[in-house]
């Protein structure tokens, strides 16, 4: 069995096959400040004050409009706090950060778990071998009540990565390169397993980058088998020992792809699609108005440090804005301790509070029509970050190099 087949077999209490429709038990149900209020509305309309299936397994995270940017959002957040209070559920308020990251940091997500929530990038939980599914409000409201949902067991695609990264090339370049080949619909309704020597060596922050962008290939979930360092991370935070998960040696895959990273250069996704990917060198020289370093894809401490290494002792180009957003408060505090904040501020950047920031229109930093931005987030569809803006997606080092030069720049030329 593949990983997803094992997970659904366990959650459905019987052996399942791809294509089968099953009811599966859920380990965690999450809501956020976007979508969450609609979930509560649906829940209370249908179930009134009846208790959720397990209050310890229901979590509300605030990550999108934090702190509240207008009265409507403030009211939505108040609704969610009220619900948490009435139900005894878990609340991660405006001082915590991107929901999926906060759930990982708090030890609530374990390998083999099924987690559903209202964000489209729940699948980044595949970084620790958990199945995260982004869902709509009806699903999440029903899930909170019943603790189970219906699923079609997906087929699995296996992606094997070999070789060694060159300097300034890493997880973001790899996943962009993979999306270029598979396209934005290449993993439609499929589970993906990443494997091979390169993947085995990835640390948790890099695994998060890779798993998060499975959404951009239209995949359901993307898994990386947890190694000892991941198990240590989870177990130390969960305060208990946790079972591992891996595919069987004879698991059947629908399709297989192989990649070698020996010759891979820094990659960049051009407007307006995550699969319009080219070598950074091919588009070098395009002037930019803004650079954004953060999001659930590239907002960990090591992401920030890799950008800060380039920015140390340098200034960003006059007329360019650089906005840095740590994924979580834990990351922000570690960044302060490591001196990373000081480097960003000294170079002319703006560091904001943790959260999803510019990933959507939720936070300060939206672009004016016709402006150009290099972003470390995961999407660059038309309209995602302001009407008529041009958004390029790249790694934190490409973003930092671009901020320094004021134009798209290969970090190796700094």
């Amino acid at each position: 069995m593949t990983i997803i087949e094992k997970i659904f077999s366990r959650a459905a209490g019987k052996d399942v096959k791809p294509g089968e429709y099953v009811w599966a038990k859920l380990n965690l149900v999450a809501m956020r400040d976007f979508g969450g209020p609609n979930v509560i509305q649906e829940y209370e309309e249908h179930y009134g004050t009846r208790p959720v299936f397990d209050a310890q397994r229901v979590a509300v995270t605030f990550d999108l409009h934090i702190p509240a940017r207008n009265e409507k959002v403030a009211e939505n957040q108040k609704t969610l706090r009220g619900f948490v209070h009435r139900q005894g559920a878990r609340l991660f308020d405006v001082n915590t950060g991107v929901g999926q990251h906060v759930l990982l940091e708090s030890g609530l997500v374990h390998p083999g778990d099924i987690v559903v929530g209202t964000d489209s990038h729940m699948n980044l939980l595949g970084a620790v071998g958990a199945a995260g599914f982004g869902m709509g409000t009806t699903d999440v409201a029903g899930a909170m009540y019943k603790g189970k949902l219906w699923f079609e067991v997906p087929q699995t695609i296996r992606i094997t990565v070999t070789g060694t990264f060159k300097d300034f090339v890493g997880a973001k370049d790899l996943i962009l390169h993979i999306i270029k080949r598979l396209t934005t619909s290449g993993a439609l309704n499929r589970a993906v397993e990443f494997t091979g020597e390169v993947v085995d060596r990835l640390k948790i922050w890099e695994r998060i980058t890779v798993a998060s962008m499975v959404t951009e290939m239209s995949g359901d979930v993307g898994f990386i088998v947890p190694d000892d360092s991941i198990m240590d991370f989870i177990e130390s935070r969960a305060g208990q020992s946790i079972q591992r998960i891996a595919a069987d040696p004879h698991a059947v895959y629908e399709r297989e792809y192989e990649f070698n990273v020996d010759d891979l250069n820094p990659q960049i996704a051009c407007p307006h699609s995550p699969d319009s990917v080219r070598d950074v060198a091919e588009v070098a020289g395009i002037p930019v108005d803004q650079v954004f370093i953060g999001s659930c894809t590239n907002g960990r401490l090591e992401d920030l440090e890799s950008a800060a290494d380039l920015l140390k002792g340098r200034k960003i180009k006059d007329g360019v804005r650089m906005i840095i957003v740590p994924a979580t408060m834990e990351v922000a505090r570690a960044a302060v301790r490591a001196g990373v904040h000081e480097i960003f501020l000294a170079s002319g950047g703006v560091v904001t509070n943790p959260g999803c920031a510019l990933c959507t229109t939720g936070h300060p930093g939206i672009l004016a029509p016709g402006e150009t931005m290099v972003s470390t987030s995961n999407r660059n569809f038309v309209g995602k970050l302001g009407k008529g803006a041009n958004v390029y997606l790249a790694s934190p080092t490409v973003a930092a190099a671009t901020a320094i030069a004021g134009e798209i720049t290969d970090p190796r030329s700094i």
């Binding site: 409507k72 869902m135 709509g136 009806t138 029903g142 219906w150 999407r379 309209g383």
Partner: protein
């Protein structure tokens, strides 16, 4: 269940930002949400002004990709669309439609249905009759489990029926 309506054609990879632009996400009133259905597509205003109750959306591959926003199918259903036919659907969008009882059909050959054609669609058997062109096709229907959820009136009603 048979529905009749006029075809509105859309292309491949119509994402949820096109179906329901992100700037309207704070809206919670369903009739207000409906007024922005398909607004982000290249024929958004033409659609919103011209669409009639019962009309049918026909699209290419990966319809509804992008974010998990349920506003997208809520708006489409709210503006009066009776069924969405596409070569393929994004998973979340597909689920949302089933859960709220908005019928969808998978159809390999959407180009046989042109913009403005009048068609009859049997949502349970998948039979599509193009009355404008006098042609008949069979599309793939939903699974039994999904049809049962739809028949019960959506996910909430169905969850009450099971234990």
């Amino acid at each position: 269940m048979i529905v009749k309506g006029r075809v509105w054609r859309f292309g491949d990879d119509i994402d949820t930002d096109q179906i329901y632009p992100g700037m309207y996400l704070p809206l919670t009133d369903k009739s207000e949400m409906a007024r922005h259905a398909m607004e982000g597509t290249d024929r958004g205003s033409e659609f919103i002004e011209g669409v009639k109750a019962g009309d049918i959306i026909v699209a290419g591959k990966n319809f509804g990709c992008g974010s998990s926003r349920e506003h997208a199918p809520v708006a489409i259903k709210g503006i009066g669309i009776s069924v969405v036919i596409a070569r393929s659907f994004a998973r979340i969008f597909h689920r949302n439609c089933v859960n709220m009882g908005l019928p969808i059909l998978l159809f390999d050959d959407p180009d046989r249905l042109a913009d403005g054609d009048l068609i009859d669609v049997d949502v349970t058997t998948g039979v599509i009759e193009n009355t404008t062109r006098g042609e008949k096709f069979t599309a793939q229907t939903l699974s039994t489990l999904e049809l049962n959820i739809m028949k019960a009136g959506g996910l909430f009603a169905y969850l009450e029926e099971i234990d």
